[in-house]
Structure formats: structure tokens, C-alpha cells
């Protein structure tokens, strides 16, 4: 339920709204205002651009950002390694990251397979949030000075406890990301199988 609708519902029921001045809300509205000079680098504008969260209302984004941790990484700093226990899901707020498979050493490029470069507004590590005993399936390294916004298992639990609607919505979006990745993988497997079959036929 959006904040506006909640207020209107309360009004129609004759409930007196909280007469306490909500400073964080005012601060948020000031930051989110299109006239604000800070618009370009605030979380609200950022999450409006993140495709998976575009079903979130303004107020939901405001509450959601309270659960995030801002982590700053310098260029070439390891964010996590393949095989590490995973607990968090990261959004790239600034900069970009490189994803490597079978990564061995930071100075030894030959021993790693570069999988993909993820840019601003993209995300990674969603499995860490959902699986009970997650192991990171790849190594992620900051390509340049990077700012990540991470949400971790305890945050999700807190969100589900105190903001269950928002928590469920976020879980649904995370499940959608997983479903999309699964779909992508299935398509890739089908295409690889087809290629293998073609090669076998040729031989």
C-alpha cells in the first residue's frame, strides 16, 4: 500500500494521523524532489532506474533504503571470492565490477575466466540472500573505485518481520531475477546441446 493511500484510508476511517513531525520523511522528500540539486546521486533516483525494483512505490523505496549498507571498494579490490559463504545481494551504485570464474590470483589473469562486466544500476549475488548455505559461484572484483549497496540475510529477516509487505515484494522481485537467470541458463544449455549435436553429426 502506498503512503498516500494509507493516509487517505486512515482519514476516511476517521483515524487521527500521527501528529509527530516525521523528519526522515521530510528529508527523503527533499532529497527525492526533482528540483533538488542532489537528485543525481540519491538512492531514490538510483532505485527508480533499477529495473527489478520499478514496481516499488516511492515510500517503499524510502523504507527499502533503510536496510541497505553502503560499501566502498577501491579498484581491483576483491568483493567476494568463489567458494566464500554468501549472505548478501549487491546493487552497483557507482563504478563497475568484473565477474570471474575459476579465479586464482589477482595478478594472474591467465588462471581466471572473465565472465562479465557489470555496470552501474546492475546487481549480483542474489543467490546469497535466498539459499541457506550459499557458496559464491564466481569471484567479483571492483573494476574501478566502486560503491555498492548491499542487503544481507539479517536485513531481509528484519524487513520481513517489520515490513512484511515490502519484504514479500522484494523476495518476489529477487525470485523473478532468479527465474530470468534460470531461463537464460536453460536457453544457453539448449543452444550448447544443439551445437554439440551438430558437431557430433559432422564428425
Amino acid at each position: 500500500m502506498s503512503y498516500e493511500k494509507e493516509m487517505m484510508d486512515k482519514n476516511s476511517k476517521g483515524e487521527v494521523p500521527n501528529d509527530r513531525l516525521d523528519i526522515p520523511l521530510l528529508k527523503y522528500l527533499w532529497d527525492a524532489s526533482p528540483l533538488s540539486f542532489k537528485t543525481k546521486d540519491n538512492y531514490h533516483t538510483f532505485f527508480k532506474k533499477v529495473t527489478v525494483l520499478n514496481s516499488f512505490t516511492d515510500n517503499e523505496i524510502r523504507v527499502f533504503t533503510k536496510f541497505l549498507h553502503r560499501r566502498e571498494f577501491i579498484a581491483n579490490e576483491v568483493i567476494f571470492r568463489q567458494g566464500d559463504s554468501g549472505y548478501g545481494f549487491y546493487f552497483i551504485f557507482e563504478g563497475s565490477v568484473d565477474v570471474f570464474a575459476n579465479y586464482q590470483n589477482i595478478n594472474n589473469e591467465e588462471k581466471s575466466d572473465h565472465v562479465i562486466r557489470l555496470e552501474k544500476s546492475q546487481y549480483f549475488g542474489e543467490m546469497g540472500l535466498l539459499e541457506e548455505f550459499n557458496r559464491r559461484s564466481a569471484t567479483v572484483i571492483a573494476h574501478e573505485n566502486t560503491v555498492l549497496l548491499g542487503i544481507f540475510k539479517p536485513d531481509l529477516e528484519k524487513m520481513l518481520e517489520f515490513h512484511p509487505v515490502l519484504g514479500a515484494k522484494f523476495l518476489r522481485e529477487t525470485a523473478l531475477i532468479m527465474a530470468n537467470r534460470m531461463g537464460q541458463l536453460t536457453r544457453e544449455i539448449i543452444s550448447l546441446k544443439k551445437k554439440v549435436k551438430d558437431l557430433e553429426n559432422r564428425v
Binding site: 566464500d84 549472505y87 548478501g88
Partner: protein, 342 residues
């Protein structure tokens, strides 16, 4: 770059160990801090319930809370109200107890002389009573010290509570920011798990102690056993100590049953009441409340309680369990990591 990251990691651990050393060196600050933290953890879920939802929901939960707290605190208040009268009653009975004990010891003396022809020339009764009286006067002489530390706590605990309720969020955010990236995920998750486990354990033990104390108080009251409030209160408090607690809790009642000439102070009824209450605790309360919070082997629990008592007295005995549960989590995590690397 790697060097800077290593320096950051070193500095983080250096400050962490310095903070731990400070806490160990200044127990006068650490103990009220720890107490305020326990109160904060116990009140935290309530603040969440009382500050969210509609006004009607909040009123409902508030009334429920008032009823619950009054019910659970009743034996405590009753005990404090009656503790004074019970103790003065006990002190006035002390000469009577002394003569009863001397009578009983005289019977033993005669028995030993008749059976073995040996004359016992010791007087343990006077020795014990003397010891009791001197420790009582020692306790009285210590009152100014207790009073000053009580006043210290009266000042410090609300101050720390204010910090936990209103400043801890900002402090926590700054602390989180200072954790190096390489250990952030694990530290944050382990810290959150410890916080949850500690809070749940303290609340569970408090409820368990209240239930046991209430059962024993009311049962003793019904059978007319002397000092029901004090004995129920002591049994509840000592029950906070796992496994050893129920044994310590029964000792005062055992002494009363042995020494009192009150016909209601029956040893059998007292033992039945304590046994039944501890059975209810073991079969119903403990599995439902406490064991799901700390999943530890009973032998580890007993050893930890002894070690905790050695290190930090009664407080150590209580606090050691969630710490051991946390270390278990930590070792499991390290083991999982090592097994992947191998």
C-alpha cells in the same frame, strides 16, 4: 593497495581487542553496560510492537503487556514485600534453631559415645552460628559499598539505556562502516546472529525463571510451607543457571525443612513441589523456550557454566551460554570455509 587493505584490517582488529581489554579492565563500567544491554534486548521486541500498527492495535498490545508484566512480576513484588518479614522472622528464630541443632548434635554425641566409646569434643553448631552471624555483620559493613555501587548503577544504567535506545543505530552504522570489506559479510551476519541469540536467550531464561518461581511460590503457599515467597524467588533466580541452578535453588528450602519445627515444613511435600516444578520446566518450558535458542550438548553446557562461574561469578555463569552458542556458530562457519578450501 593490498598493503592499505591489510593496514585497515590490522587497525580494525587492534581497536576491537583494545575495546575488549578495556571492558575486562573496567568491570565497574562493563557490568552496568552489560545490564543495560540486556534490558535493551528484552525491551526491543516490545518497542517494535508498541510503535507499529494502528492506535487500536497498539492499545491492545499495551494492555496485553501490562497484564503480562504484572502477572510475571507479581511473585517478584510479593517476594520483595515479604522478604523483609521473612528474614526478620528467620533471624528471630536463629536462637531457637541453634538450640534445636545443639539438641540434635547432642543425640549424635551420645550415640557415638555409646557405640564407639569416643567423646566428641567439638562444637560445630556454635561454630556455624557464629560464622552466620559474622558473615551477616560483614554483609552489614559492606552495605555502604553496595549502596555506592547501586547509586553508580542508578546513574549509569539509564545513561546506557538512553544510548542503546536512541544512539545505538547511528553508532552501529558507523561501526559497520569501519569493518573492512574482506570480513564485512561474515562479521555482520555473525554479529546479528549473536545479537538475536543473546536477546532470545535472556528473554527465554527470564520467562522460564518466572514460570518456575511462580509455580514453586504458589505451591509452597498452598501447602503452608514457611517462607514461600523467598524460597520461590530464590528457586526462580537460581533456575537461570542451567543444570546447576535447580540444585542450588532447592538448598535453602532443604535447610528450612531440616531446621524448622513448623509442622507444615514437611520435607516430602517440599521435595515433591520442587521435583514437579522442575519436571514441568524440563519437559515443557525448557524445550519450548530455551532449547530452540541454544542448541548445545548438555555436557558442554555444564562445563561452560563452571568455567563461566570461575571467570565472572554468577553473571559469568548466566552470560557464558549465549557466548558458547555464538562460538559454536563461529567454529561451524570457519569449518565450512576450511572444508571448501580443502
Amino acid at each position: 593497495m593490498q598493503r592499505n587493505l591489510r593496514i585497515k584490517l590490522f587497525l580494525f582488529f587492534f581497536f576491537l581487542f583494545a575495546a575488549i581489554a578495556f571492558a575486562i579492565l573496567f568491570p565497574r563500567l562493563t557490568l552496568p553496560f552489560g545490564f543495560a544491554y540486556i534490558v535493551y534486548l528484552m525491551a526491543k521486541p516490545l518497542t517494535a510492537i508498541l510503535t507499529t500498527g494502528s492506535r487500536r492495535q497498539r492499545m491492545f498490545f499495551f494492555s496485553l503487556l501490562v497484564i503480562g508484566v504484572s502477572f510475571s512480576l507479581f511473585p517478584l513484588f510479593a517476594a520483595f514485600y515479604n522478604i523483609d518479614t521473612d528474614f526478620s522472622k528467620f533471624s528471630s528464630h536463629l536462637p531457637e534453631v541453634k538450640s534445636r541443632l545443639q539438641d540434635k548434635f547432642f543425640v549424635i554425641k551420645v550415640y557415638v559415645f555409646e557405640k564407639f566409646g569416643y567423646r566428641l569434643n567439638v562444637d560445630p553448631v556454635s561454630f556455624i552460628i557464629e560464622k552466620l552471624e559474622t558473615s551477616g555483620s560483614l554483609l552489614l559493613s559492606q552495605i555502604p559499598n553496595y549502596l555506592s555501587s547501586f547509586l553508580e548503577w542508578l546513574l549509569l544504567v539509564p545513561m546506557f539505556l538512553y544510548f542503546f535506545f536512541f544512539q545505538s543505530k547511528r553508532f552501529g552504522a558507523n561501526f559497520m562502516r569501519s569493518i573492512p570489506n574482506s570480513i564485512f559479510e561474515k562479521t555482520y551476519v555473525l554479529f546479528s546472529q549473536f545479537n538475536t541469540k543473546f536477546g532470545e536467550y535472556i528473554i527465554a531464561k527470564f520467562i522460564e525463571a518466572t514460570i518456575l518461581g511462580t509455580i514453586i511460590t504458589f505451591s509452597l503457599l498452598i501447602v503452608g510451607f514457611p517462607y514461600p515467597f523467598v524460597l520461590g524467588f530464590l528457586a526462580g533466580i537460581t533456575n537461570i543457571l542451567p543444570y546447576i541452578g535447580p540444585i542450588i535453588g532447592i538448598i535453602p528450602a532443604l535447610i528450612v525443612a531440616l531446621l524448622s519445627n513448623d509442622p507444615n515444613a514437611s520435607m516430602v511435600s517440599m521435595l515433591v513441589i520442587f521435583f514437579a516444578a522442575n519436571l514441568i520446566d524440563m519437559v515443557l518450558v525448557f524445550p519450548l523456550l530455551v532449547s530452540r535458542v541454544v542448541d548445545l550438548n548438555p555436557i558442554i553446557v555444564v562445563v561452560s557454566v563452571i568455567v563461566g562461574g570461575q571467570l565472572g561469578g554468577v553473571v559469568g555463569m548466566i552470560v557464558i551460554i549465549p557466548f558458547i552458542a555464538f562460538f559454536k556458530l563461529l567454529f561451524e562457519e570457519i569449518y565450512k570455509d576450511l572444508s571448501v578450501q580443502l
